[in-house]
């Protein structure tokens, strides 16, 4: 029994050397959605930063456990995939029609409760969106999408 325990400890320590490099963060993003829309209400900004920006921007906040293997693998992968799918830090580089496509994704997934992912809100308890949050977020994006084609 003791032996098993030691083996687990050794594996855990060795795993730390295999830990992946987490996607880099940057807090200076001139093409960022929020920066380029100064008229955006503070509550919309708060929802975005609190519930979306960890995976969908370059401004990822990594908690201490992000650096510990094997959690680091999960966080590294989800952040990378999240940014590939949608990166609010590079919002202005999208064309108008591309933005409309992404917004269709955002409104569908948020209203269906597919985003934020449950594994994320399990740990970040305050990142979950209630019905009012969803409505605020979806309304803002729909109005924004309309304004693109006026």
């Amino acid at each position: 029994m003791k032996k098993v325990f030691y083996i687990i400890i050794v594996i855990f320590i060795l795993a730390q050397f295999l830990s992946p490099k987490l996607p880099e963060t940057s807090f200076s993003n001139p093409d960022d959605l929020i920066i380029n829309n100064p008229e955006m209400n503070a509550n919309v900004q708060d929802i975005l930063r609190n519930s979306c920006y960890d995976c969908h921007s370059n401004e990822t906040g990594y908690p201490w456990y992000s650096y510990i293997s094997p959690i680091s693998f999960l966080i590294s992968r989800d952040t990378k995939l999240g940014r590939e799918e949608l990166n609010f830090s590079e919002w202005e580089t999208l064309s108008k029609i591309e933005r409309a496509g992404v917004i269709d994704d955002i409104t569908d997934e948020v209203s269906e409760g597919e985003m934020p992912m449950s594994i994320y809100t399990l740990i970040h308890r305050d990142a979950g969106l209630n019905d009012q949050d969803k409505e605020i977020l979806i309304n803002w994006f729909e109005n924004y999408a309309d304004s693109l084609f006026e």
């Binding site: 108008k96 029609i97 591309e98 409309a100 496509g101 992404v102 917004i103 269709d104 994704d105 569908d108 269906e112 729909e142 999408a145 309309d146 693109l148 084609f149």
Partner: protein
Amino acid sequence: MKNLILILTIATASITFLSFTTGTGYEMPSDKVGLPAYDVPDDVQEIIDNSCYGCHNTDSKSTKGKMKLNFDKLSDLKQSKQIGKLMKISKVVKNGKMPTKKFVEKYPDKKLTDDETTLLVTWADNMAVELSGE
């Protein structure tokens, strides 16, 4: 022996039931796609009828499929939504997410060929640009 037969019967019945309830909700489309306001070339129309419309129509049993995209109602949506949906069609077809893996396994002949993929993606992209007025 009698028990064994009973168990087998119940198992078979359950599996049959499950295979119905977990289906893709696909039914052969009876009508052509309703895209009244759209200019849809015949070859694109055929692809949509064959590989998309079965789940993405008003009477679809696939609630999720219908919610994400309903061809019957597409041209009723506001401009920004229509553009968004067309861009989404282009994206999910391009990256092979649609038709779903499960659907293609069940109906291998409805899998999109490379040519069909290109046709559909190009059409959706062009329609989006046209609708955007640019």
